[in-house]
Amino acid sequence: MGDRRPPAFYALAAVFGLFVLFLYGPMLTIVVLSFQGPTGGLTFPMHGVSTHWFVSLWGGLGVVDIWAAFGRSLRLGLAVMVLTVVISLLAGYAFRRGFRGSSLVFYTAVASLIVPSIIVSLGIGVQFRLLDAAIKAAAEALGLAAFTESFATSAGTFTSGLGAHLTWTLPFGLLIMFAVFNRFDGRYEEAARDLGATPWQTFRHVVLPLIAPSLVGIALFGFTLSWDEAARSSQALGSDQNTLPLELTGLTTTVTNPEIYALGTATTTVSFAVILVSLLLFRTLSRRQARGR
């Protein structure tokens, strides 16, 4: 192969460049427009540059308690992140050793990824509705009148919402673990065992440092997929428990000023901060690992 690029390279490079512009261009426009002047509207031109819309966003968005939704999404995202990493890691170990019914679990995970979110959401919503009815009936049968009166619903951010998000993040986590263990050299573990390490020590001092970068990857998927999830949560959350993406979807039809861009910029900043931290952590851990070898 010579060093000269074939003509096809330049054509393809141009397509790639346009694709990247197509990916990031629109996002850039709303970041720019979120700094619109106080008299500016939803489109260009810019009427000066200001942080007016961020300030007014800080004060809240009318009837919608956007900061409560922000906090809920953040807490839920962190919980989903931690659970996704732990559960995927354990499952990765299980699949590596093999167990009866592993194909069934695998195909269920893949199905969970592919079945349309609205269907999963509907199922969970109805399931918790029936669960509520059952709980109320049981409480009445037991004569717990006080409980029946105070009990509203078992659906909520950290019950049905958490479950709905996990059905979306866990398949990604599992697939990443598959990729990790498919390429993992089992001789490191054998060596550890031969030197007298317990299974826990083998995990803690040999396996964990080697797969740590991939776990950061799973954490990244866990948080960002939860942080941006709308379709699967839509029916699965209790009333007044909307997450940020759901509020945002609602706001697209009602908000008519750049506040929504400011909110978009704020949300995207969180996403990018998480991505950046993950990538840096990934690099640090990979380097440390490479040095250790």
């Binding site: 096809a8 990916l23 629109p26 499952a91 609205i118 509907l122 199922g123 996990l166 709308a230």
Partner: protein, 327 residues
């Protein structure tokens, strides 16, 4: 090591058994159970348990509930257990009687099918091209990974925001219309750019091309470069090598990407809602509206029909490839 430990604890258990028979028997039994639970053979089962339980309770059970409820009766206030096909009848009401004109359900599915085909064809074409560029034309591995990352980062940001971000570009007073008017290509602002079929398809391509790039790139990076050289040596033109070597070997990635894109478009209601200005029908939207009126059994019946349609599409596509081999 482990066996030695086990032998030791057995002997200890034996020693206590001589001293105090009854409690020792209990201890020994508990020991057996503990060993069974902590033995290496049992490990995969408790390790897989959390994952299996999450899917059982938040995925499988909800689907079962949905199928069951789709046969229930409902009124404005409540849903009641029953075993009636009424909901399915109303899903397909008029579908046979009104032929050859299409009933609402068929029309909606046809519209969804149109979006599926358009989104699939465009994401495949674009995704394949980008993956091909990354896999075969970017030579340094570092550059390859960096550019790959550039393509995937938007996937980790919010879909809704990525949709909204088209508004200042495509709207009545948006950048595109401004450009068209200034360039003298049109006098009136074009209104088909936003809240139209066009903007919906554009958003699908914008959001989902990533789902084509990743699996196709994965398949392509496994293709032995010697095969391409062999094709060239045998006198194949660039196009022939692409069509007869690269495309067949990328098939698994193409199929996986296609399954993702098609199923996501089939069940979509957020994108069609936001980008279609809440004016375009889709099955997902129908289900969502019925849910907002608390018509759970009817929505469930619609969802069952949608699920059946999705499963048929997947079955057809997976006949082409063994997904599990590709990981």
């Amino acid at each position: 090591m482990e066996r030695v430990h086990r032998g030791l604890s057995d002997r200890e258990a034996g020693r206590t058994a001589v001293l105090e028979p009854a409690s020792a028997l209990a201890t020994a039994r508990a020991g057996v159970w503990r060993r069974r639970l902590t033995s290496r053979a049992a490990a995969p089962y408790w390790q897989a348990a959390p994952l299996a339980l999450v899917f059982a309770f938040f995925f499988v059970l909800p689907l079962v509930v949905m199928v069951v409820v789709s046969f229930w009766r409902y009124n404005e206030y409540s849903i009641t257990p029953a075993l009636v096909g009424d909901n399915y009848v109303s899903v397909f009401s008029g579908c046979v009687a009104e032929l050859p004109s299409l009933c609402l359900t068929f029309k909606t599915y046809l519209s969804t099918l149109k979006f599926c085909v358009l989104a699939w064809a465009l994401t495949l074409l674009l995704g394949f091209t980008v993956a091909y560029f990354l896999a075969f034309h970017v030579r340094s591995l570092t550059a390859q990974m960096a550019l790959f990352l550039v393509c995937t980062i938007p996937f980790w940001t919010s879909n809704v925001i990525r949709m909204i971000s088209w508004v200042p570009l495509l709207g009545r007073n948006g950048l595109v219309n401004g450009f068209l008017i200034t360039a003298g290509m049109t006098r009136e602002p074009q209104t088909w750019l936003l809240f139209s079929d066009f903007s919906v398809v554009l958003a699908f391509v914008h959001l989902y091309t990533m789902f084509m790039i990743v699996p196709i790139f994965n398949s392509m990076s496994r293709i032995d470069r010697a095969l391409l050289e062999a094709a060239r040596d045998a006198g194949a033109s660039g196009w022939q090598a692409l069509w007869n070597v690269v495309v067949p070997l990328s098939k698994p990635g193409i199929v996986i990407g296609s399954i993702f894109v098609v199923t996501m478009v089939m069940g979509d209601y957020v994108t069609i809602g936001v980008m279609g200005g809440q004016q375009i029908a889709s099955i997902g939207k129908v289900i969502q509206v019925q849910l907002s009126y608390l018509q759970f059994p009817l929505a469930a019946a619609n969802a069952v029909v949608l699920l059946a349609a999705v499963l048929m599409v997947i079955a057809a596509m997976t006949r082409l490839v063994d997904v599990r081999k590709e990981l």
